[in-house]
C-alpha cells in the first residue's frame, strides 16, 4: 500500500481550564489514504471536533496540542521531541504558524463546518467569500477566481450561479449554504477535506442530497475526506473506513463493512443498536445507558466501563491496549479488555449503568433498558 496522505500518531490535545486539565484528545492514531473517506464517529463530547482542529492546528485557547505527531505527506503539521532537559518540546521540523497558514490551510487541507448557518459571513456576498478563499489558495487572478467560484457553485448544484454569486448568505437556505461551503472546500483544490458534521444541522432529505453530492464529487476529484459524525447511518452511507471515538480515545477502527458486520467493541455495538429503525417504536429504542463521563476526570481502566454492558471487575483496573485483533489486512483495531489476556474471563461482572440494578446475567441484561 502506498504512503498514507495523512498520519496521526498518538495525538494529544488538552484544555487548561480553571477546573483542571481536560484531556479532550488523548493519544489517538489513524491514517487517511489518498482518495479515501475516513469516518470519525462518536457521541457529542467525544473529542471529534477537537481532533480535527488539532490536525489543522486551529485549537483555540485554553486548548493546546501537547503531544503526538501529525504528518501530511512530507510535512510535519504537529511534531514533538524530547529536549536535552527531558522536557517535551516542539520538534524543529514542525511547520511554523505562517507555514501552516500559507501552505496547508485551505491549500492542502480544507474544512467544512457543522453549522452552515453560522459559517458564512452575513455581511459579504456569498460569491465574494468563495472568491477570496480561491484567490488565497490558488495561483489565479481575481477574474479567474470569480470564474472558478461560479463554476463551482454550478457544480454543487446552485441554480443560476451567476445571479446567486451576488446574493448574501441570508438569501440562501441551510442546504444551499452547505453546498456553498462544499464548493468553497473543493474550489481550493485541497487533497484532504475535513467535514465536521456537515449534515447534522440539515433536515434528512437535504442530508441525503448532500451525501450524494459529496460522493459524486469525491469520485470526480479523488479528494480524501475525514468525515466527522455521530450518525452511524451516515457512516454506512459514505465512509470507507471508520474510527470510533469515546472520551478522547479511538476505541475501534475498521473497514466500514467489518465494523458493521463484525463489531468488536461493546461501545460500537451499543452505537449501532441505538440507531432508530422504522420498525421500532420510541419505547423500543436502545439508547446507550448513562452519560459520557467528563474528560476532565475520566474513569480509571477502560473509559467505557461505567456504561458497558459487558463490564467486569478487571475493566476498572486495566487500561486496554489499542491493537489489531484479526491479523487480517486491512487491520481491525480495537481497544477492549476482552481481547487481551488480563483475566477478563475470570473476573466478576461489574454493576454499571448498562447492566442495571439487577446485576445478574450479563448477557441477558445486555441492551435492557432501565425502565
Amino acid at each position: 500500500m502506498s504512503e498514507p496522505l495523512l498520519t496521526v500518531e498518538n495525538l494529544q490535545t488538552q484544555f487548561f481550564t480553571e477546573e483542571g486539565v481536560v484531556r479532550a484528545v488523548d493519544g489517538i492514531s489513524f491514517e487517511v489514504n489518498e482518495g479515501e473517506i475516513v469516518g470519525l464517529v462518536g457521541e457529542s463530547g467525544a473529542g471529534k471536533s477537537v481532533a480535527t482542529s488539532s490536525i489543522m492546528r486551529l485549537v483555540e485557547n485554553p486548548g493546546e496540542v501537547v503531544g503526538g505527531t501529525v504528518r501530511y505527506r512530507d510535512e510535519v503539521l504537529v511534531g514533538f521531541e524530547e529536549g536535552p532537559d527531558g522536557e517535551r518540546r516542539r520538534s524543529p521540523e514542525m511547520l511554523s504558524e505562517a507555514e501552516m497558514r500559507t501552505r496547508i490551510r485551505g491549500r492542502e487541507i480544507a474544512i467544512i463546518f457543522q453549522d452552515p448557518m453560522e459559517s458564512l459571513n452575513p455581511v459579504f456576498k456569498v460569491g465574494d467569500q468563495l472568491r477570496e478563499f480561491i484567490e488565497i489558495n490558488r495561483e489565479v487572478s481575481k477574474a479567474e477566481a470569480r470564474e472558478i467560484a461560479v463554476d463551482m457553485l454550478r457544480e454543487v448544484g446552485i441554480p443560476e450561479p451567476e445571479e446567486r454569486y451576488d446574493d448574501y448568505p441570508h438569501q440562501f437556505s441551510g442546504g444551499m449554504r452547505q453546498r456553498v461551503l462544499i464548493a468553497m472546500a473543493l474550489a481550493c483544490e485541497p487533497n484532504l477535506i475535513i467535514a465536521d458534521e456537515p449534515t447534522t444541522a440539515l433536515d434528512v432529505t437535504v442530508e441525503g442530497q448532500i451525501l450524494d453530492l459529496v460522493r459524486d464529487l469525491q469520485a470526480k476529484y479523488g479528494t480524501s475526506f475525514i468525515w466527522v459524525t455521530h450518525d452511524m447511518g451516515v457512516v454506512a452511507e459514505i465512509c470507507d473506513r471508520v474510527n470510533v471515538m469515546y472520551l478522547g480515545e479511538i476505541v475501534e477502527q475498521a473497514e466500514v463493512d467489518d465494523l458493521f458486520y463484525d463489531t468488536k467493541h461493546p461501545y460500537t455495538e451499543a452505537l449501532l443498536r441505538s440507531i432508530p429503525r422504522p420498525d421500532q417504536t420510541v419505547e423500543e429504542l436502545n439508547p446507550i445507558e448513562g452519560v459520557m463521563p467528563e474528560a476532565i476526570n475520566p474513569p480509571p481502566g477502560c473509559r467505557f466501563h461505567t456504561r458497558c454492558p459487558d463490564a467486569r471487575e478487571v475493566c476498572r483496573r486495566a487500561h486496554p491496549a489499542y491493537q489489531d485483533v484479526t491479523g487480517d489486512e486491512p487491520p481491525h483495531r480495537v481497544s477492549c479488555v476482552k481481547y487481551e489476556d488480563v483475566g477478563y474471563e475470570d473476573s466478576d461482572p461489574l454493576e454499571t449503568a448498562a447492566t442495571g440494578a439487577f446485576g445478574g446475567g450479563l448477557v441477558e441484561a445486555r441492551g435492557e433498558s432501565d425502565e
Binding site: 485551505g106 459571513n121 478563499f133
Partner: protein, 332 residues
Amino acid sequence: MSRLRYAAGRLLQSIPVVLGVITITFLLTDAIPGDPVSIMLGPSPSAQQAAAIRAKFGLDQPLHVRYVNYLIDVIRLDFGQSLYYGVPVTQKILERLPVTLLLLVSSFTFALVTAVPLGVISAKRRNKPTDHVSRIVALFGVSTPSFWIGLMLIILFAYKIRLFPATDLVMPWAHPSAVDGASTQLEVVLTALHHLVLPTITLGTLQMAAFTRIERSSMLEVLGQEYVKLARAYGVSEGKILRKHAFRNAQLPLITIVGLQLTQALGGAVLTETVFSINGMGRLIITAINNQDYLLVMGTTLMFGVVFVVGVIVTDLSYAYVDPRVSYDDTD
C-alpha cells in the same frame, strides 16, 4: 434600490415622531408656571396692557386653538418671535444651530477615531496590559462628569500651560476679516480647530469611553464566530481577519450606540457650551427657559428633537448599509 426604499420608509416614519415632539413640547411649555406677560411687562402691569399683549400673541385663545395655530406656523417654518431677543426664533436657531452641530460632529469624530482602534486592540490583546489600560481609561471616561473634565482641562491647558484657548470659539466658516490674526480662510480653519480642542475632548470623552467598551465586546464576540474560524481555516491572515472578516460585523452594535448617545451628547452640549462660553443651541435654550421666552423654548426644543430624529435615521441607514440583512427582503 431596496436601500433607497428603506430610507424613504424611515423618513416617513419620522413625521409622526416630530409631530409628537411638537405636541409634548407645546403642552409642557404651556404647563410651566409663571406668566410670560409679566416677564415682558415687568412687575404689576396694568390689566389693559396685559390684555393687549395677550391679544397680540394670541394668548387669550383657548389651548386647542393656540395649538392648531402653532402647528400651522411650524409647518410654514415660522416659530414666532423671540420675546427676549426680539428677533424671529428661526433666525436665532439658524445662528446657533451650526455652532452646536460643529461641536457635536467634532466630538463624535474624536470619540470614534479614538474608540474604534482602542476597542479593536483591546479585543485583540484580551486580558493583556494594553487591554487593561484601555478598559481603565474607558471606565474613567464613562464615570467622570463632562463639566468637571471641561473645568479641569481649562485650568490645566488654558491657564497653567496656555496651550489651548478656553473661550471665544471661532467658526471655521467665519470671514477672515472677522477673526483676529487670520488673513486667509485656512488660518481661520486652523484657529477654529485650535479653539475646538478642549470643548471636543470635554464633550467627546464620555462617548469615546462608551464606544470603546462596545467596540471591544462586540469585536470579541465576532472573533469567536464560526465564519472567523472558517476564514482562519482557509489560511486568511490574522491581520486580514481583524480588518475585513470581523471588523464590519463588529460595527453593528457600535452604530446603534452612536445613535443613542446622541441624546446624551445633546445634553452634554448644554454643559459644554456653558463651561466654554460657546453661543450654541445649549445656551440658547437655557436663556429661553430662564426668561420664559416660551416661543424660543418650543422652537429650540423642537430643533433638538429634529436633530435627534435625523441622527437616528442616519444611524438606521448606516446600519442598513453595513448589514445587508436589514434592507433586503428574505423572500426575493
